[in-house]
């Protein structure tokens, strides 16, 4: 199961080597945001929030495991 999962994951990653087709008609996009490079700030914020939540979940998981061990 684990191996299949990792294999699938790597298969996804390989796709990144391809593509980059030219874009069609220019429609207004948030290019300014991108060119200024500040979008990374947003990604950083989102990632911090999500990693924080994940750590929080892991710590709850750990505390539960401890409780379960004590009560068995």
């Amino acid at each position: 199961m684990k191996k299949i999962f990792i294999f699938g994951l790597l298969t996804f990653m390989v796709q990144w080597a391809f593509a980059q087709a030219p874009t069609a008609a220019p429609v207004e996009m948030a290019d300014a945001m991108r060119s200024s490079g500040k979008i990374y700030v947003v990604i950083g914020t989102i990632s911090v929030v999500f990693i924080g939540l994940a750590i929080y979940l892991f710590s709850i998981d750990k505390r539960l495991s401890k409780l379960e061990k004590e009560h068995k």
């Binding site: 980059q20 429609v27 979940l57």
Partner: protein
């Protein structure tokens, strides 16, 4: 942290993190009206996928409970419905925000919006039903039977009825499936990891809630 039994939790976190980064930085097709909001597909749609998976858990464990009478199966069923409902509410709110700026109105009585809301109510009723029964075994049994009926209703509401009529949602109004999504192959490589990641996280939270419920019951009994 036992990697052997918890690898799927870590995988879920990594997949979602990947989708948060690549979802914002990846190239998306340039589409009128949608513009950059097409990226919402990485964050809004996985909520619904995860909700459906949790409701599948609810249905399976309800059937399991009916055949076994094992309290654990009932616990899994309740918490699956609980987390599923929560994810559904997140899906509704994010969908309304997205709709406001692309369809013009937060709630345009789109068939899929309406039936998603009705589907939520069906599962809300599950909790009302549970809350109204005092005896634990009776509660578990009756709500399990209710679940078995609620699940196909939810599937019909979300995946069949909207397709019989015109809907603002892509992939509805006759043409089912992903091909109607305005998604190219590069987007799929972000979309599918996001879906799998959020499903894993949803199941993880459900598992935590089940364990919390059971340890609480155990402590209260002693």
């Amino acid at each position: 942290m036992n990697i052997k039994s918890n690898w799927w939790k870590i995988t879920g976190v990594i997949l979602v993190l990947f989708s948060l980064y690549q979802g914002l930085m990846g190239r998306v097709p340039v589409l009128p009206i949608l513009h950059e909001t097409i990226r919402n597909i990485y964050y809004h749609v996985p909520m619904w996928f995860a909700m459906v998976v949790l409701f599948v858990f609810n249905a399976i464990y309800s059937i399991k409970y009916l055949s076994s009478g094992n309290e654990h199966h009932d616990n899994v069923a309740v918490e699956a419905a609980n987390v599923g409902l929560f994810l559904g509410v997140l899906g509704l709110i994010t969908g309304m925000l997205w709709a406001k700026f692309t369809w013009g109105e937060a709630w345009s009585n789109d068939p899929k919006q309406n039936s998603a809301a009705i589907g939520m109510l069906v599962y809300l009723a599950y909790f009302v039903l549970r809350g109204s029964l005092d005896e634990a075994q009776k509660r578990a049994k009756i709500s399990a039977v209710y679940s078995v009926f609620a699940f196909p209703v939810m599937i019909v509401l979300l995946f069949i009825l909207p397709r019989l009529t015109d809907s603002l949602h892509p992939g509805n109004g006759g043409n089912p499936g992903f091909n109607k999504y305005d998604m190219d192959n590069q987007m799929r490589m972000v979309f599918y990891p996001a879906v799998i990641g959020w499903i894993l996280i949803g199941v993880w939270v459900m598992q935590l809630r089940v364990r919390l419920l059971e340890i609480t019951n155990q402590i209260l009994e002693n």
